[in-house]
């Protein structure tokens, strides 16, 4: 890992980049409340991919409005987890439309909360009227995502793409 | 035991008649709660049959 000053090297993870986000009660509900997700950033990732799948990333009010709604998480939380890093890089790429975004930490920090905020709305739509424990509703929804496509064919396609990249140190 | 029977025989027919008449008398009064005078009727029957 190269040591560089903050701001001069956008390509490497620095411990100082924070991700501001709109922190609603849902975060608490799904972690301390119903103990479905372990950390807030787990919730955020779920909301973000939920938004990518079914909604639109928000361009306003995604950092939180009033008191207690302005949350902040260090970017290393996402980069430290390999799935999340892949998701975050993909979201950045999809959002900005250019490959550089994949490696741009600041873009990541901007894009994550946009999708997370969009995900809040999707969540409300899908699970808003579930009274009490949403575990089953969420589990069933996630399961239905698999059934929506053709998992076998998709997996084959991914394998093909993976093999295409072999020889590149993958 | 002859002593018991002397003067005490009753013919079969006598007894049968008494029986028939007694039962008829009872039958007539069967459906009354208290068959008044039935004892007198029976007494009379026996007196009539045995004399």
């Amino acid at each position: 890992m190269h040591q560089n000053q903050a701001g001069t090297d956008p390509h490497h993870v620095l411990t100082m980049v924070n991700v501001p986000y709109k922190k609603t009660q849902l975060y608490d509900e799904l972690t301390d409340g119903y103990e479905i997700f372990e950390h807030y950033y787990d919730v955020m990732m779920f909301l973000a991919v939920l938004c990518y799948r079914e909604g639109e990333p928000k361009t306003d009010d995604y950092k939180g409005g009033g008191e207690g709604e302005r949350g902040s998480i260090g970017i290393e939380r996402f980069h430290g987890n390999s799935h999340y890093h892949a998701i975050v890089a993909s979201l950045a790429y999809q959002r900005r439309g250019n490959p550089e975004a994949m490696a741009d930490v600041e873009v990541h920090a901007n894009v994550i909360p946009q999708y997370a905020a969009g995900g809040l709305e999707v969540y409300e739509e899908k699970f808003g009227d579930v009274a009490g424990d949403p575990t089953d509703a969420i589990a069933n929804y996630i399961n239905s995502c698999t059934e929506d496509g053709n998992p076998q064919r998709e997996d084959d396609e991914l394998q093909t793409i993976l093999r295409n990249f072999e020889g590149l140190g993958v | 035991m002859d002593e018991v029977t002397d003067g005490m025989e009753h013919s079969e027919r006598e007894l049968a008649r008494i029986r028939k008449r007694v039962l008829e008398a009872e039958k007539e009064k069967l459906n009354l709660r208290l068959p008044r005078g039935i004892n007198n009727d029976i007494e009379r029957i026996i007196r009539e049959e045995i004399n």
């Binding site: 779920f46 892949a86 991914l158 | 003067g7 007694v22």
Partner: protein, 675 residues
Amino acid sequence: MRLQRLSLTNFRQFTDDSIEFAHGEGANVTVVHGSNGSGKTTLLNAFTWALYDAVDFDTRPERLATEGAMAAANPGEKIEVSVTLEFEHEGRDYTVTRTAMFRKRSNDDFNGEIEDSDVVVEYREDGRATKVENERTALNNIIPQRLSELFFFDGEDIDELAGVDNQDRIQEAIQNIMGLTILERATRHLDHVAGEFEDEYAKYGSDELRELVQQKRDLEGEIDNLERKRKDKQREEERFAEEVRDIEQKLSGFDDSSRLQNQRKEYREREKQLKADIDNITERIRDEINDKGYAPVSMPLIRETAEELDQLRQNGVIPSDLTDDFLDSLLENKQCICGRPLESASDEYQTIESSKGDAPAEGVEQAALMIIGQLSQFSDDRSAFTERLEQHIQERNEKQQEIDKLLEYIDDISTELGEINDAIEGSKSIAEWEAERDRKSQAKDDAIREGSRLKEKIENKEEEIGNLEEEINDLREDRQEAQLARRRQRAAELVSGEIEEKFEDLKQRVRQLSNQTVSGTFGSVASKDLHAEITKEFRLKIYQDLPDRRVEVEKSTGERQIASLAFIGSLVKIARQRYESDGNSEYFTGGIYPLVMDSPFGALDKSHRREISRILPTLASQVVVFATDSQWEGPVEEEMSDVVGKHYRFDFDPGTGSGEYPCTRIKQEQTPTTY
């Protein structure tokens, strides 16, 4: 006797109502049902009032007139209460109308004072109308009052008939139905008359004879007293025996209760365990969501991105071979990418040097390769999530099903416990109940001992009488009057003995006849291998057939009722058979009687109600049943729908408002057989 119609005017809660009775083959049942207190018992009493001027009301027996009518009347006015019963008997159509006038004495007098009570009996035969003069006798000849308890039957007494020590009632019923009462009475009366003749004998005889006869009379008197005492002791014994049985039932209830409670506790613990298991599973589901839930949801994102990255690779935007190693080799070989020679410290050299590890292309490439590198993981996690989730859900469902079953069992047990605990009323502990049972058992034994002692005394005295009679026999009395009286006495005694023998013999014969029907009826409905029988001692017993022997069983309430009904049915049948075959025998009178039953279903469970419903229509040619709504609805209604010819409902208005009085209207319902 075939019932046709019953009409009531101002009779208790019936202001002006009537019922027609079903008759004929197939649909011979008339059913009347209503809520409790709506008037079923009143209807039963209407029959006996019309026929015999006899009523048996639990509440306010003196209040015959309808309260509403009395309320509306002024003091001094009279209310007419009447009941008309129309029936057919031996070719004649009878109309019996009993009327009673009640005068209201004061403003708050609801009973009224009875004036002018009258009964009118008429019949039509071949179109001609005739009035019957000796009403009481005529009615008693048609359906004797002594039989009315059998045919106008309060079902709540039905238990008594087949109750544990009710052989007297059974004997009485048998006697009554066959007119065997004649024989029983004849015996009694002849004995009495024999006594009179013996007194006469003594009157005309010697002093010695008088003395002996007097002694005999005295002994007879003593025996009567002892007999009375012995009967009292016997009743005492029976009463204590029943009390002991009740307590033992309570005690077994305690046993059952604790057994059931333990069972229920077990079930509850298992339920708790299962609930914990379910919570566990749900936790695991949550773990799956947290660990792998991202995968299925993010598939489109990853796929689309991967495809685009693949495209970039194809287009060369992501260099496929520009790595640190290559750059190093370029530097070593002092060659630029473009192929020109590199000079250390030249700008180009610097550029390439600085590209190493931080070429923009490499950061992007790194990110791209990182994403691609995750593809397998995403696929694997996605399938793993689905697989595991399904497993968890199935497991959870199985456990939930088990919980549902347990809840059912627990519920059943709780209900059963509730019933048992109701039966174990009172605040005594088990030890206290046992102590009381022992006391009563002791008291019963005492009564038995007393009874035996008395019996012995009686036997001794009878022996003494026997000796006296021998002495009396030995006396030769000379006077003709004495001899005549003696002969008459003997005649009476002999005839009495004959008749008594015949009586016992006939009772047994009727018992056997009755048994045929009883076992047939009982066998056709009762479950398990049970059969019912009236023993030689006229006890109604129920047996279970085992491979090698027969065992008497404790009758359940349901079985007792079925057996009692079967017994009554058998009597009705025998009476009818006798009537149709014997004509004018000395003592068999017989007759065709209807069966009017008030609440024969009592507190029975559904399956017993169903069974009783099946046999009721077969018991007599005409059957009238009163029941509560809840007894009627359900299995009873189902079983009887084919045989109900007339169906009525009591529409009871309790009259709770001021100025209102209880009133019942009788409403006719449709029956499938109405035509």
